[in-house]
Every structure is written in structure tokens, then in C-alpha cells.
């Protein structure tokens, strides 16, 4: 059993957390169970489903494929940091609600984080681009159609 530990200081949603973590602790478990940021969900723990996607220095990554120890000195964003305040949603969240882009909502945090980066890089996407960008995130409820609609609507609102 590995008991090697690391001291880390990581910024999550603008707040600095200092913790001592086991070397083998997955970033997804660290976020969910140590920092109690349980909005990041775990679906497969082998990097396929995308539910655990967060932003690592602005890039979308799968938190189940990283160790907490790798985040020392880095800047993370999770779904909890997406909305500007508790009373309002991010435009992408609003579009997901308006288009019925979620059903059980379990894959949704990973999709939001993936699409946030995509829309920042691609301001006027077409449907094919959205589907390509979304293809690393599995959703078992929606059939994706309303998610695609939501991302296109968010992009349109953003441009306006």
C-alpha cells in the first residue's frame, strides 16, 4: 500500500486549498470527497465517459485520469464555479435548461465544462463542430440532440 504523500496548494474556482494528499489519490476523488465539490461526477474512471471533466489551467481534462498531487500550483475550474452567483446561471447553463439539454443531469457537469472551453475557442460553431467537440462526453439520456441545440443557442446568444 502506498502511503507516500504530497503537500499541495491548488486553486479551485478562485479559492486556494492547501492539503496533504496520498500520491495515489485521484483528482476526481480529491475534488469530490476532500474538497466536497461533488458537482464533478464520476462515471467510468477510465477516461471514456467525460462526466468528470474539469478545467485545468483552462484546458478541459478528465479528473479521473489525474492525481491530486499533479495539481500543485495549478488553477482548476469545476461546475460549481460556472455560474456568476447563486441567483444566476452561466449562459451555457441557461441554454441547457431552455433546450432541455439534460435529463438525469449526471453527465451534465462534464459537458458544461467541455463546452465552455469549446465555445470560448469557437464562437460561431456549426452543428458538425458541436457534435465533434461533444463526442468525448457520453450521455445516456438525451440522445445529444437537445445538448447540441443548447450549445448552438448559447453560441448565438453569446455573439449577440
Amino acid at each position: 500500500m502506498s502511503t507516500e504523500t504530497h503537500d499541495i496548494a491548488v486553486t479551485v474556482n478562485g479559492k486556494v486549498y492547501k492539503r496533504t494528499v496520498e500520491a495515489r489519490l485521484l483528482l476526481s476523488d480529491f475534488l469530490r470527497h476532500d474538497l466536497l465539490l461533488a458537482g464533478t461526477h464520476v462515471g467510468c474512471e477510465h477516461g471514456v465517459c467525460g462526466a468528470c471533466t474539469i478545467l485545468f489551467d483552462g484546458a478541459a481534462v478528465r479528473s479521473c485520469l489525474m492525481f491530486a498531487a499533479q495539481t500543485d500550483g495549478h488553477n482548476l475550474e469545476t461546475v460549481e464555479g460556472l455560474a456568476p452567483d447563486p441567483e444566476h446561471l452561466h449562459p451555457l447553463q441557461e441554454a441547457m435548461r431552455d433546450c432541455h439539454g439534460l435529463q438525469c443531469g449526471y453527465c451534465t457537469p462534464g459537458i458544461l465544462m467541455t463546452m465552455k472551453v469549446f465555445l470560448e475557442e469557437t464562437r460561431a460553431p456549426d452543428e458538425a463542430q458541436v457534435r465533434e467537440a461533444l463526442s468525448g462526453n457520453l450521455c445516456r439520456c438525451t440522445g445529444y440532440q437537445h445538448i447540441v441545440d443548447a450549445v448552438l443557442l448559447a453560441a448565438e446568444r453569446w455573439r449577440r
Binding site: M96, R97, C104, Y106, T108
Partner: protein
């Protein structure tokens, strides 16, 4: 309320919580002193257990306990039979249900043998490798036909021929119909249905409050009430001592209604025994073995027709793989047997199935629940008949549709809900017409396909029909209550896995009570909030619980009007309820808020009239006399790459009749999602077992769920034939999208590749590029 919310595309009440990461899922439950469980599972499909030595595991630092079947003592028992066989004459049924931890034998890969409770999941998993296990491998039962043969190994030593069940049902006289038929067509069909694979796996948290003598269980179940009742019984507690909460659940699709999974038996027991909260979360690898599947059936089917394509009769003999145990009874194969009849007049029917035990994980309903298998058989038989009789594929279907004046239509066999298979209502031809129009059927065949073929493109069209028995009993209930703050609270016993219950139930009540959908708070799946109920399955939530909400809201409306009439000293007919207020019609300023009335209905001092019930509240139950039958047609245009055999769906159309629509936005989401699960089943998802009963593709990298690139954009049309069996006129819609996709793919791909001309038929699902290559390359 000036606008009606029932029937409107209202966005969902639950979304803000889900979108901001604030919704509670089972793995989000954190309790002080919590222990974490990991299960040791069999890595072989069939073996005798010689010994399990857990002594080293117990010594590992951080391990609190390790248990095997022996430790469970008298608590150890096979699980309950959830659905007994329906009252069908001469049924053979051999009940063998799963056990909490395997005792003498293991019967499928993944069957649990021991559980470790430790201070972290990491330590618990470390300790699994400390357990010394001596298993003596036994011959493995995998193939259905071999399983039945004499001399086969036995999954259960006392069950000859591995026969779990034998059921024959029918109507009329098939032999006589066959004797006068102009054409008889016989084929073998293979239909393999995969697993539901919700993105959230299963999970359980158990917490025992020793002072209060109460157990609280958070579970990803679709059936919290029955979980509570069963746990109380097994643990020797009263139901009031057990609270089961199904919080937000990350997709269900059927397997989460199965109970009792071994972990559901072991975790609450361990929480009580150790007097500490215990959490178990299934990992994805476990999910492939520890959560139930659907799987294969082999049908030998025959259709007898007149020369003009009328169905005279159908005979079907099929084998059903039920896995190592059969806790869900006959539901899946009975659904196959019944749903084969579809929307067609089939006057003579003779259907026999054998359910077979195999050394594979358990089979229980997964979205469609066996209906797919039956629909595949009849739709493929009609395709072949159309070709042999030189009748258009849509036309042969039209000629056999049940006419609109024939409802209620009795098929004279017994359905999964123990009632005769009777279709309450329907009007099928307009659905077919609408689908043909939306897909451009005739123009495609006459103009586009010849043009595309001339360009060397392989583009084909398909059209298939189906019915879906939905909204079955027994019953659900709902409690509707006006709160002192003027908002409305509704509690119901069913759990929710994404169906939009927080919104559609609010829509049902909103119009009755004159409040906004946003001012209605819904509680589902908490047995302390609502005591009674059956669960979320068989496309029944909106139908059964929705009508219970409607009944309760009607009573609360009467209570509001009665109290307000006393308040204003006027007649109830002079009152209206709008925007959370009761007003006297035509008298501006004469109004009272619902919250004020709620307070009035619960006076703190003074006297009330004898018989007065406090509050603006009502609990009502609804149990339909039978299931309501939804129906639909799917049509598709698909292009096949003749080199790689990959597909591109160019157009996909669903026309659907689920009676009165509560929320078209949520309904379309249900259909889109169902279609894509159907697409996965038809072309991407297959559970591949080897002859040792090992699942060879137990990861999401190998078991291919459709992504946004494989999912077609679906166009939806509706027709509305209200159900006469419930006051709202609704029928279920949860499974409709998924049911007919297999035969649609087979038909359209055959058409695209011109396989019929080469006498190649696609009589199996799932297909795949590889399988299509193999089949299309056959020389006939």
C-alpha cells in the same frame, strides 16, 4: 393563471440544481465516521467454492471488517421473486434467485464472495487482494441450445436442462391458418439486447441511528418503497424504522428497479452491525457484471399469409437467456411474446418460449424490456413477406393494421401485468401516413434512390411499426398540500432518474390550483415523505403517479374553494383561483392568497366543525384498470459505405401517439434518448461472452455507447388518441424511442446495400460494420 401549463413545453424545475452541481446523488452523501465497502467478486463463471480465507485482509491497517456468507448467519437468504409468473395455464417456472454473498457455488463472473469494510475505498480495494480464494472451476453453461441438451452442465444442480421457465400462449388455431395460407415464411432470428449503462453506476449508503433505532438508506433505486419494505422484513425492523431515499439518480432505464442486489442486502446490515455509516459505489468494471443485463433470444418464427399479404397467423418458438438467476420472473420474455403482435391483426398465434439459466449475469428489464425482441421478429417477417409477395413494405403493414373501430382490442393472451393483453385505444393508419410523408417515402423510392444508386451511393429507407404497453398498475399515490407560504408541495412514492417528474407533476397540479409551475415543489423517492408506491418502470410514472397527482389536486382545489366561499360568504361558483389567489369573479380587490387560506385551514385556537380535516391537503391514489397502449412508427434513410460498412443516418423520423401530451419538450427528450439507445443496440453495443462465460468487452472503451457523432437528429411527429383508462388521457412514452430501432436498421441497411437481390437477409441484432461485412460477403 391565464396560460395553461398542462400541455406546454415548460422548462424543468429541477434543472437549476442539476446544472450548478447542487443536486444530491448517492455518492455525494458524506457522513461522519463513514466506512467504505469493496466486494470480492468471482473471476470465473462457474465454480465450487472450496475456501475463502480473509484472515490476512482483516489484519490490514484501516480495515474494520471482512465478511463472507458465513458471517451473515440467518440473515443469509436467496432474494425475493419480484414478479411471480402471470396466471397462464400450464406454466413451468423454476425460481432460483440471487444470494447476498455466494456460499457453495459461484454462477457468474462478478458474483460477490466477500465484502471488505475499511476507512477508505482505496484501502478496501487493497484488502481484496489479501483474500485467499480457492475456487474449483466447473463446466460453464453459455450457449442456450447446448444448455437445454441432455448432458449439459447445470447452473443450478437441481434444475434439469437449465430450464428456468416454459410458457405457451396463443389464440385461434395456427395449424388451420397455416393449412389455408398462400405463403408460409419461416426464419431464425437472433436478437441480443445489451445493458442500460447509465452514466451513474449503482450505489448505496446505509446509516444506522442506534439511539432512534432507525436505518436510513440512500440508494440509486427506481423502487424505494419496496426496498424499504424488503429491508425492514429482512432486518427484523418495522417499516417505520427504515427510511429509503432515492435522491437524484443518474439514469436508470430498468436495471435500477431490480432488487435486492446483493450489495443492497449487505450494506445496510453492515451499517447496523458496525454502527457506522457504510458507503458502496459500484465502479464501471463492476457495473458490467454486478448490474443486470438484457441479452439474447433465439426465435424460430413462421408467418402464414394470404396472397394479398394479410397475416393469417404467426408461430414462434424462442429461447430466452435469463442468466444465472431469475428474480424478475417472466417479465422480459412475456413482453417479447406479447409485443410481437404489434399493431397488427394476427388472428392465430402460437408462441412458446423457454427461459434458460446460463452462467452469465442476471437478466432483468432494460428499456423496452423484451419488447424489442418481439418487434424485431414480426417486422422482419413482414419485410420478407413483402418481398416474396411483391408488396410494398409500407403497404403490407397498412393492410394488417388494427382498424380504429376495433378498440378496445383484445389479443386474448396474458400480459406482464397479469391482465389480458388488451389495447385500450389507438388509431394506427394516420401515424403510418404521417411518418411516410415526413420521411418522403414514395418520392425517395421513386426518384431519389434510383438517382443516388446511379451515382454509386448506397442509400436505403426503412419503416417499422410498434406498440408499447405502458402505464401498468398496480397503483401510485400523491400527497398535494398548500403550504403557508402559498407554495404547493407534492410528494409521491416513485423515484426519479431524469424523467422530469419535478416539472410534469407540477404541470398537472398547476392548472387545478391556480399556481405557477415554479411554485410547486415536488418530492420523489423519499419513503418518509410518501409511504406508498410501486416504482418507476414500464413507462408508467406520468400515467399512474401523474393521475394520482391530478386526483389529489382536484380534491385540494375543492377544499380551497369551499374555504374561500366561507371566507367571502359567497358561492363556490363565483370564485376563481388565479396566480396563487382566490378571487371573487367580477369584484375587484376581493381576493385571498392561498397561503392565508392554508393558515386558516389549520387554526391554532377555537373550534372547528365536527369532521373537519386540517390543512389544504389531500392524498389520493390511482390504479388503472389496465395498461394504456402507446404506438408509433419510425422511418429512416441511411447511407452505408460499401467499403467500411459504416453508416450515416441521413434522416430519422418518429411519429408517436402517447395520448394526451403533458410536456412536449420533455416528451421529445424521452424519444430522442430512446432512439439513440436503440441505435446503440442496433449497431454498436454488444456484450461479447466467450465460451467460458467471460465478458470480453467490459469497459466503455470496448462496449460502445453511441456518441454525439453516431446519434441521428430525430424529427418527431405526434398524433393524439387519448387513453380512456385514465382521466388525463395519457399513455407512457419512456421506452417508445428504443423499441423498434433494430428492425428499422436491418430493413434500411438491406435496402441500402441491395442485399435482397443477393438473397442476403439481416436477421440478427446487433449489427456492426464487421458483422455487416461478414453477412454481405456471404455467397448464397
Amino acid at each position: 393563471m391565464t396560460t395553461r401549463s398542462f400541455g406546454a413545453p415548460v422548462t424543468r424545475n429541477e434543472d437549476a440544481r442539476l446544472l450548478s452541481g447542487r443536486a444530491l446523488f448517492v455518492d455525494d452523501v458524506e457522513l461522519p465516521g463513514m466506512l467504505y465497502a469493496a466486494f470480492l467478486r468471482s473471476n470465473v463463471a462457474h465454480a465450487r467454492i472450496n475456501s475463502i480465507d480473509v484472515s490476512v485482509a482483516k489484519e490490514r491497517e484501516g480495515v474494520v471488517a471482512v465478511y463472507t456468507a458465513e458471517d451473515l448467519g440467518d440473515y443469509w437468504a436467496p432474494g425475493p421473486l419480484l414478479v411471480p409468473p402471470p396466471p397462464i395455464k400450464d406454466v413451468t417456472f423454476n425460481q432460483r434467485t440471487q444470494v447476498p454473498l455466494a456460499k457453495d457455488k459461484v454462477r457468474h463472473v462478478g458474483e460477490p464472495l466477500a465484502v471488505v469494510l475499511a476507512e477508505s475505498r482505496y484501502i478496501a480495494e487493497d484488502a481484496l487482494s489479501d483474500i485467499a480464494l480457492d475456487l474449483e472451476p466447473l463446466p460453464v453453461v453459455v450457449d442456450l441450445e447446448k444448455a437445454l441438451a441432455g448432458g449439459s452442465a447445470r447452473v443450478h444442480d437441481d434444475v434439469r436442462g437449465n430450464l428456468a421457465a416454459l410458457v405457451r400462449q396463443g389464440r385461434g388455431n395456427y395449424a388451420a391458418a397455416r393449412a389455408r395460407a398462400d405463403r408460409v415464411i419461416s426464419r431464425r432470428f437472433l436478437y441480443d439486447h445489451g445493458m442500460s449503462s447509465p452514466i451513474e453506476t449503482r450505489g448505496i449508503v446505509g446509516s444506522w441511528d442506534d439511539r432512534a433505532g432507525r436505518l436510513t438508506v440512500w440508494d440509486t433505486t427506481q423502487a424505494p418503497v419496496f426496498l424499504r419494505n424488503g429491508l425492514a422484513g429482512m432486518l427484523g425492523l418495522s417499516e417505520r424504522q427504515v427510511r429509503v431515499i432515492a435522491p437524484f439518480v443518474g439514469g436508470g432505464f430498468g436495471p435500477k428497479i431490480m432488487l435486492f442486489y446483493p450489495e443492497e442486502v449487505v450494506i445496510p446490515w453492515a451499517a447496523i452491525k458496525l454502527n457506522r455509516p457504510v458507503k458502496w459505489i459500484e465502479d464501471r468494471l463492476e457495473h458490467f457484471f454486478a448490474t443486470t443485463h438484457e441479452r439474447g433470444q433465439t426465435h424460430d418464427a413462421e408467418i402464414a399469409l394470404s396472397a394479398d399479404g394479410r397475416i393469417l397467423g404467426v408461430k414462434d418458438v424462442f429461447l430466452h437467456d435469463t442468466g444465472a438467476y431469475n428474480p424478475y420472473g417472466l417479465t422480459v420474455p412475456i413482453n417479447s411474446q406479447c409485443t410481437l403482435l404489434g399493431p397488427y391483426v394476427i388472428p392465430n398465434y402460437d408462441s412458446t418460449f423457454r427461459a434458460i439459466f446460463t452462467n452469465k449475469p442476471i437478466v432483468t428489464p432494460y428499456r423496452g424490456a423484451g419488447r424489442q425482441h418481439g418487434v424485431f421478429v414480426i417486422e422482419r417477417l413482414l419485410d420478407i413477406a413483402a418481398r416474396e409477395l411483391n408488396i410494398d413494405r409500407a403497404e403490407i403493414r397498412r393492410r394488417n393494421l388494427i382498424p380504429p373501430d376495433a378498440f378496445p382490442y383484445n389479443n386474448e393472451i396474458i400480459y406482464q401485468d397479469f391482465a389480458p393483453l388488451s389495447y385500450d385505444s389507438g388509431n394506427y393508419e394516420p401515424i403510418l401516413d404521417r411518418a411516410l410523408e415526413m420521411i418522403g417515402y414514395h418520392r425517395f423510392l421513386a426518384e431519389e434512390q434510383p438517382r443516388l444508386r446511379a451515382q454509386g451511393r448506397h442509400v436505403g429507407i426503412g419503416v417499422v411499426c410498434y406498440v408499447e404497453g405502458t402505464g401498468i398498475g398496480p397503483y401510485e399515490g400523491a400527497k398535494v398540500q398548500v403550504q403557508n407560504n402559498g407554495k404547493v408541495s407534492i410528494a409521491t412514492g416513485i423515484g426519479t432518474q431524469g424523467q422530469g417528474h419535478f416539472t410534469v407533476f407540477a404541470q398537472v397540479a398547476a392548472d387545478q390550483l391556480g399556481v405557477s409551475v415554479r411554485d410547486i415543489d415536488i418530492v420523489t423517492g423519499d419513503t418518509d415523505q410518501f409511504y406508498w408506491g410501486a416504482g418507476t418502470f414500464a413507462s408508467r410514472g406520468a400515467v399512474v403517479a401523474g393521475n394520482a397527482v391530478n386526483e389529489a389536486a382536484k380534491v385540494v382545489r375543492q377544499k380551497i374553494l369551499k374555504l374561500a366561499a366561507e371566507h367571502f360568504e359567497c358561492a363556490e361558483e363565483d370564485l376563481e383561483i388565479i396566480d396563487g389567489k382566490v378571487s371573487v369573479v367580477g369584484v375587484p380587490g376581493q381576493s385571498v392568497k392561498l397561503g392565508e387560506l392554508a393558515m386558516k385551514a389549520n387554526p391554532m385556537r377555537g373550534a372547528v366543525k365536527p369532521g373537519t380535516e386540517p390543512g389544504l391537503e389531500s392524498t389520493q391514489y390511482f390504479g388503472p384498470s389496465g395498461g394504456s397502449t402507446a404506438s408509433g412508427v419510425h422511418a429512416m434513410i441511411v447511407e452505408v459505405d460499401p467499403q467500411t460498412f459504416t453508416l450515416e443516418v441521413l434522416k430519422y423520423v418518429v411519429v408517436h401517439d402517447c395520448g394526451t401530451v403533458i410536456n412536449p419538450l420533455i416528451l421529445s427528450g424521452q424519444i430522442h434518448g430512446g432512439v439513440v439507445q436503440g441505435v446503440g443496440n442496433a449497431f454498436y453495443e454488444q456484450l461479447v461472452f466467450d465460451e467460458e462465460g467471460q465478458l470480453l468487452n467490459a469497459s466503455l472503451a470496448d462496449y460502445l455507447l453511441p456518441t454525439s457523432l453516431e446519434a441521428p437528429r430525430t424529427e418527431i411527429g405526434h398524433t393524439v388518441t387519448p387513453s380512456p383508462l385514465n382521466p388525463l388521457g395519457v399513455k407512457g412514452a419512456g421506452e417508445a424511442g428504443a423499441i423498434p430501432v433494430g428492425p428499422l436498421f436491418a430493413q434500411a441497411i438491406e435496402d441500402a446495400l441491395g442485399l435482397a437481390e443477393r438473397k442476403v437477409e439481416l436477421n440478427e441484432i446487433p449489427l456492426s460494420p464487421t458483422r455487416l461485412f461478414e453477412l454481405a460477403s456471404q455467397q448464397t
